[in-house]
Amino acid sequence: WKNGRDPQKTDAGNGSADVDQIAGSLNRKLALTNAVHGMGYDVGQRLIERLSTDHLKMETNLEVVKYICKDFWEETFKKQIDVLKTNNKGRFVLQDNNFRWIRKASRNDPSQLKVEDFLTFPAGIVCGAMNRLGVDCTVSADAASAPMCIFTVEIAQPPNNSRQQ
């Protein structure tokens, strides 16, 4: 929904106000999510710059992901990633069995915030950190069984395949 009021508006009669309202609040939420993700991205970039200065150059995507899972996670979230899986085609699944930032989050929060919303910021951090280490990727997070949570790193395939594992 680029401008928020795409197809529904034309065919709706009385319902259009509702649709507008929903679209408006969805847009607002999307904008907020983007802003928070962006803040995380920014923090991740600057954080990794400070942390990785003494580290040897990381050649492959896997090395970068491993560094994120161990040193970076330890420094930022005070533990290491518990399980790392990959499909060897650029997708890495990072599982933290007890993610510190949502340990005390409530499942029944009366506000509209969901546990997932608390992961927007750390997902941004991971994305920013990866990017700073030269890996172009997107990061999404899932907290279906909090405080266990899963970050999925999807690495963008470079056109010339210069960074193979």
């Binding site: 803040m39 923090v43 600057r46 400070r50 420094e75 930022t76 005070k78 510190r100």
Partner: protein, 186 residues
């Protein structure tokens, strides 16, 4: 409790609590302020927003202070000042503040601290010279005080980012709130 005891207490609580890396805190706070500057543009408005955010933190944070420090009674405003400076500041910022410049009625004092982890890596550009960068602290203190029945005013008066030699927050006691049962309490 004497100053020395409070300082020791602050140290103990600090040692035993979970911590995050100072860099993460500083960078996260920085990006929050940056985003507020994007959203509200005017430094004055950002000061207000930071104060409000701090207030919302403060009214919850006080519970954590009391639970972890096990200070259950705060007998006077003078005592409370030392608790803020020696215990609360140590607990959450890892630094200790000093209470200075009391007025003769003992209703006003300044909280002075040289190091502020929130302002690490930060420089204030000229166009934001009206910004009190760490104004969130004022809100936090105000909110926390309100929950222990003291209405205070909190104002940043010195900030190293503005070229001052130290950080200073002025705290003025306006009113001791009386504990009253809610109107429809049965």
């Amino acid at each position: 409790m004497s100053k020395v005891n409070l300082q020791r207490l602050g140290e103990t609580v600090f040692q035993s609590s979970d911590r995050v890396s100072a860099e993460l805190l500083a960078l996260t706070y920085g990006s929050t302020v940056k985003q507020l500057l994007v959203d509200y543009e005017e430094p004055d408005e950002v000061n207000k927003q930071l104060d409000q955010m701090g207030y919302n933190i403060g009214i919850r944070l006080i519970e954590d202070v009391i639970a972890n420090s096990k200070i259950y009674t705060i007998s006077s405003f003078v005592d409370s000042a030392e608790i803020v400076a020696k215990v609360a500041f140590k607990m959450y910022l890892g630094v200790v503040a000093n209470t200075v410049d009391w007025n003769s009625d003992k209703t006003e004092f300044s909280l002075q601290f040289d190091d502020n982890p929130l302002t690490e890596f930060t420089e204030l550009p000229d166009r934001y010279s009206d910004l009190w960068y760490a104004n969130i602290l004022c809100g936090i203190i105000r909110g926390a005080y309100e929950m222990v029945q003291m209405k205070v005013e909190c104002k940043y008066t010195k900030c190293v980012l503005r070229g001052d030699d130290t950080n200073e927050i002025r705290i003025v006691l306006r009113e001791m709130l009386l504990e009253r049962p809610p109107l429809d309490d049965e």
